[in-house]
Symmetry: C2
Subunit: 218 residues, 2 copies
């Protein structure tokens, strides 16, 4: 993030529960790196549209991509967008309905999206995306064709206007409610991997590489 951005913009500033928020680059980067599934908002004919997509970070920029025919990508190029990535880490069950909450991590970026135009730069960005999730995979793959690069649009924006928000820990109840015989606590949730499903058309002797068997989300 630029120096400028250490003071949050008005819209990035957390209006409520600001004790949960932070604006430093380290917090924002860590959340972006841990939360690849993002939701990108843009304005279409004056109304909001929110589309799930993957984001990845290189340095102080975030990237997302898709088909060059994608409406979301065509309409958000050169336009103001809001990119939010979140994870639900648990339900927080309190002794009153009012104090029920959730544990979560969330990061929100504001900015203007621009398109990565250069073919070599596009390929380098896609390699960083794939290798960021699965280290070393890009070099093992069939090489990308020029036609495939053309059919892929990559958008980006600098991480200049951002906020990170995290809630963790147990319930916080009204003082007098702790005397009530009501179970309270946290039901933690986590995104976990399930057993691999190898493609039945894998050639004989082809086994899952380390970047798959050792995969860790975040």
């Amino acid at each position: 993030m630029s120096k400028k951005s250490d003071a949050p913009s008005d819209r990035a500033r957390l209006r409520r529960l600001y004790e949960r928020g932070s604006y430093d680059a380290e917090s924002v980067y860590a959340l972006l790196d841990a939360l690849p599934l993002a939701h990108v908002g843009y304005v279409l004919d004056g109304a909001p549209v929110v589309t799930p997509t993957f984001q990845w970070r290189e340095g102080n920029h975030v990237y997302w991509h898709g088909s060059s025919a994608s409406r979301m990508l065509r309409k958000s190029e050169g336009a103001e967008v809001c990119l939010t990535a979140s994870a639900l880490d648990g339900f927080v069950l309190a002794r009153s309905g009012f104090h029920h909450s959730v544990n979560y991590r969330s990061v929100t970026l504001f900015g203007t999206a621009w398109k990565v135009e250069d073919a070599d730069a596009k390929e380098a960005r896609l390699k960083a995306f794939v290798d960021g999730l699965f280290p070393g995979r890009w070099e093992m793959l069939r090489e990308m064709t020029g036609q495939e690069l053309k059919a892929t649009t990559i958008l980006s924006m600098p991480i200049d206007e951002a906020s990170a928000k995290v809630r963790a820990g147990g319930p916080v109840d009204d003082d007098e409610d702790y005397a009530l015989p009501i179970w309270a606590g946290v039901l933690p949730l986590a995104q976990q991997t399930l057993p691999l499903q190898a493609d039945p058309r894998n050639l004989d002797g082809v086994t899952a590489p380390d970047h798959v068997t050792n995969f860790k989300l975040g």
Copy 2:
């Protein structure tokens, strides 16, 4: 959904990969019920803002809530919003970078948000929210106060303009790439519960109720 909505609106229509999409009420309802964490988009001073929040469904309406001081709720009341809920179900690893994909479920609603004003109606909606996740919990809790109801804003919109999108299954590669000795397959992901964390201030003898120990997401 209204009869009208069985023909998708222009913005709800999936422009690409339409074979993955559906607009029938059953598909939309099932995804909303399975994906409580949503991202609500609204327009603030002409620019998009995307905020994570919980949604719940009753009949043909979806609801979300928060503090009455929340900027998101104040700014989206009476305004056009887009509510999207998504889950990442797995990474789909193909033999080329281009054919890498993800398995996911996603539902998107468009509409105008309106505020639930009546105090009894608000309480009934919050009960439905809590009991939808944790059946029977509402009756066990300390009763909600009038002040707490005032401090809580609930927004809603009808499920009139909606689309559901699901991708499942293995990689689909170019015909000639199946001859390559590259591992392909699916790395499935799922949001799972971890061991309960009881509040250390629970009274002696208070044990976790069935709605917690039997909790299943979705």
